[in-house]
């Protein structure tokens, strides 16, 4: 259609933050009804770009054209007025409010409650979505929460819908449903800008892909005509590094055993843990898959000792019961733990790297005598972590918060690994980390296992678990499935378990 303008066109958009050029002359074009992928790894500048389209930030230079007209999008309200809807990666929802109130907040016109309910039902019918408008958001699953955001965006009859990493919190089955909805929307002429770093999804869904790397436009292509490997190389910029893992390894004695670990839920938004049982042998990498919010954080805190079990036998390290020991005692027994949240949990952002070393390594690395901390010892250990793991930082005095996500994660992992743990529990080892750092972290995990540590990896990234782990369990609503041997189980089976469909999984062997 030669007479139609592009729905959205970006011309030479640039945006600079202190110390980094987040977008460097980026251009892209989205046609009406097109599903357009914006592909890039963490830190490539995807989020910055869409925030400018949605009016949350203003570009330093460049032009935005909407239906052929140059526009300035001052704020999200202006964006919605043009017909731009957005579904955020970290949802912009209000936990203590109802679905209806949440949706009303996203609309710019005043609608009565009754009229709004009718409209919501109409949209849900059209796209086959289900939601109870009167429910409080905090009681909903992650998938349902995403639906609120989608309904909120659809109520505005958007001409362009921006989806920021929408599938990172969904089961494979839920992803399928989402794609159905998106295709239906596109067929009606709504353009979709789909942000992701998951290659197979982009190949399955999108007609065009714009690839960003380090803030620069790398290529625009038809993903259906490319191989995942080719796309990945464009995204990462170097030939992909394979993880080197010795095949046919044998494992030693059981080093970590969890028996009948049951904990009540804490607070309104927590998940109870229900009879968790598993064991990990020396050298084994044990993975725990699952959709976010099914008890992963609670499990990590229970394993690390932040929350105590009711009996000592519930958790044992190399045969010693530690269920009622706190984190410091468990570390003395050789347990290391890395929680998902880096800033504020695994590390203190306002503290120097040196002080962050004291956080967990003070006793095992002999930094304390007579209740006094020896700064030279913590400095030396911190320096060693930085050197051994190639952490890019301005020395041990730099604050943790000044490091990029990937570098901080390398530092935290290094801090735990260099303490030679008997057992290391890691949650989301590569969440929000660039590909280079992710590869280094995964390699470090494999190497530590090869030295005889028992490893527990909790992750929502199924691909990562399948690549790293020897054994895998799925956590759903605080219950852990039977352990499955990686290589003998299909993605579909795992997906069903993630969605809460239990039952005996048939083993091929």
């Amino acid at each position: 259609m030669a007479d139609t303008y592009a729905r959205l066109e970006l011309r030479d958009i640039s945006k600079r933050f202190p110390g980094v050029l987040a977008n460097d002359n980026v251009s892209l074009t989205v046609m009406p009804g097109e599903i357009h992928a914006l592909l890039g790894e963490n830190g490539a500048g995807k989020s910055t770009l869409v925030k400018m389209i949605y009016g949350i930030m203003a570009p330093d230079s460049g032009q935005i054209l909407w239906d052929g007209q140059a526009v300035r999008i001052q704020n999200p309200k202006a964006a919605r007025k043009l017909g731009i809807g957005m579904v955020f990666q970290h949802f912009s929802l209000f936990e203590a409010m109802t679905v209806l109130e949440n949706i009303a907040l996203g609309l710019d016109t005043k609608v009565s409650r009754a009229a709004l309910e009718v409209e919501i039902l109409k949209v849900m019918n059209t796209y086959g979505l289900t939601l109870d408008p009167k429910r409080i958001v905090s009681t909903l699953s992650v998938g349902e929460r995403q639906r609120i955001e989608i309904v909120r965006a659809l109520l505005l009859n958007p001409k362009l819908l921006i989806m920021d990493e929408p599938t990172s919190v969904l089961t494979p089955q839920e992803v399928g449903q989402l794609f159905e909805t998106l295709r239906k929307l596109a067929a009606q002429g709504c353009s979709i800008l789909y942000i992701s770093h998951k290659l197979h999804e982009i190949i399955a869904l999108c007609e065009t892909a714009t690839i960003l790397r380090g803030g620069k436009l790398i290529a625009t292509c038809d993903p259906r005509k490319e191989t995942p490997r080719k796309l990945a190389e464009m995204m990462i910029g170097a030939n992909l590094k394979e993880i080197s893992k010795v095949a046919g390894r044998t494992f030693g004695d059981v080093k970590f055993a969890v028996r009948n670990l049951t904990l009540p839920k804490i607070g309104d938004f927590g998940t109870a843990l229900n009879e968790i049982e598993f064991e990990v042998k020396a050298g084994e990498i044990f993975g725990i898959a699952g959709v976010a919010g099914n008890g992963q954080n609670e499990l990590l805190e229970a394993l690390g000792g932040e929350v105590l079990a009711h009996s000592n036998d519930a958790i044992s390290i190399a045969g010693a019961g530690v269920g009622k020991c706190g984190p410091t005692e468990r570390r003395a027994f050789g347990l290391g733990a890395v929680p998902e949240e880096r800033n504020g949990h695994a590390a203190v952002s306002d503290f120097s790297l040196q002080d962050n070393a004291v956080l967990t390594a003070r006793n095992r690395m002999n930094m304390v005598s007579a209740q006094l901390i020896d700064p030279s010892a913590s400095n030396a250990f911190s320096q060693k972590v930085i050197m051994s793991f190639g952490v890019k930082a301005q020395g041990t005095k730099a604050t943790a918060g000044s490091l990029s996500g990937g570098n901080l994660q390398k530092y935290i992992m290094g801090r735990e690994i260099l303490q030679n743990p008997v057992v290391l529990v890691v949650s989301q080892p590569t969440w929000g980390v660039d590909a280079g750092a992710a590869a280094a972290i995964r390699q470090a995990i494999v190497d530590l296992a090869a030295k005889g540590s028992a490893m527990v990896i909790i992750s929502q990234d199924l691909d990562e678990l399948l690549e790293l782990c020897d054994t895998l369990s799925v956590i759903n609503l605080g219950k852990l499935s039977k352990p499955l041997k990686v290589g003998e189980v299909s993605v579909e089976e795992i997906g069903l378990l993630m969605g809460g469909i239990h039952g005996e999984v048939q083993h091929a062997h």
Binding site: P18, H345, V348, L359, Q371, Q394, S402
Partner: protein, 351 residues
């Protein structure tokens, strides 16, 4: 053109030291203008409040005497503030400490040995700590905000003091004044150490400053307090107990306030009366922030605030400003130091 804040990669050490100094300087400037605008002699007020106590050597003892309780209380508060445990009821703990110490004194009127001071001081520390234990208990067991409870207890302590000095503890020979009987000679500490203008409280404050300095900068406990304040989840992860920190910081800050209270009672007043509460507990909050929560900073800031106390009284008689003037300067200083805080973590950028 707009002024924007831009986060620094690391906190600025320069600003950390420069902003408290700037806060004092700007307090003087703004104060002069403000008092001029209110129809007083602005320059004269500033001169009397900030400079007379320094220049006139006969005021030094007065400054040192007021600095001692301020520093003692603020040392304890700074520890709590680092853990983001907000004890704003030090005034009540100061009173409770003095009452507990005085109780020991009234139970032992016949003891002629000077050693009686020691149980009195211990009782003072315990009294202050016990008063602070109430918010600690409520915070850790029932999750009650310590800001409000510690503050409410100031009012309760004030009433308790008023009850005791007008009732059971009233001096029978006191011509019906609301005051207790004077302490016996054995129960008194000197106003100042013989031959100097230094009160005993200031010596104790100096020694404790060194102790706090060691604890805060080098000990595992000092580290624990900082982690609990900066990132509660990280503290749990590191194996530090949040409840333990609430208890210990409140007991320590309450004990320090109690110590200040009993020292003030035995070395300066020699009895208790309705005029005993003198806002040291509240002013110490300003001392703590002006001193950047650091023991050495607190020591210096305590002296600065003591100067405004003494200067405020001077200005009252010489340039006839109201008694509240000192308080205005103190509040201004706190505002400015808080505003200056932002420069430590952010830089201002003109766009």
């Amino acid at each position: 053109m707009r002024i924007k804040l831009e986060k620094r990669a690391e906190p600025s050490r320069f600003m950390l030291f420069a902003t408290p100094v700037a806060a004092v300087v700007f307090t003087i400037l703004i104060g002069a203008v403000l008092f001029d605008a209110l129809g007083y002699d602005g320059l004269g007020t500033v001169k009397e409040i900030f400079f007379t106590p320094i220049l006139a050597s006969y005021k030094w003892q007065d400054v040192a005497t007021k600095a001692a309780p301020l520093i003692l209380i603020a040392l304890g508060l700074s520890l709590g503030n680092q853990a983001k445990v907000w004890n704003i009821g030090a005034e009540g703990q100061y009173i409770a400490g003095a009452l507990a110490g005085a109780l020991v004194a009234y139970l032992t009127p016949g003891v002629a040995s000077h050693w009686i001071i020691i149980p009195m001081v211990i009782a003072g520390v315990l009294g202050g700590a016990a008063w602070a234990a109430i918010p600690a208990f409520l915070k850790t067991k029932l999750n009650v905000n310590e800001v409000l409870t510690s503050l409410m207890l100031v009012y309760v302590a004030l009433q308790l003091l008023s009850y005791l000095v007008t009732g059971p503890w009233k001096d029978p020979n006191g011509h019906n004044f609301p005051q207790t009987a004077p302490f016996t000679d054995a129960q008194l500490l000197p106003h100042s150490i013989a031959g100097t203008f230094i009160p005993p409280g200031l010596v104790i404050a100096f020694v404790l400053m060194l102790a706090f300095w060691l604890v805060v900068s080098r000990s595992v406990y000092g580290f624990q307090v900082r982690v609990v304040g900066a990132a509660p989840s990280a503290a749990r992860y590191a194996g530090f107990s949040a409840n333990g920190t609430v208890w210990s910081t409140l007991l320590i800050s309450g004990g320090m306030a109690g110590l200040a209270g009993i020292l003030e009672a035995t070395s300066q007043l020699g009895q208790l009366n309705l005029g005993f509460p003198s806002n040291y507990g509240f002013t110490a909050i300003i001392v703590s922030f002006l001193g950047r929560l650091h023991p050495v900073g607190v020591f210096i800031a305590g002296i600065v605030l003591a100067i405004t106390y003494v200067g405020g009284q001077v200005a009252q008689t010489t340039v006839h400003v109201p008694s509240a003037s000192g308080g205005i300067f103190q509040a201004l200083m706190l505002f400015l130091i808080l505003a200056g805080d932002v420069l430590v973590r952010y830089r201002l950028v003109l766009k």
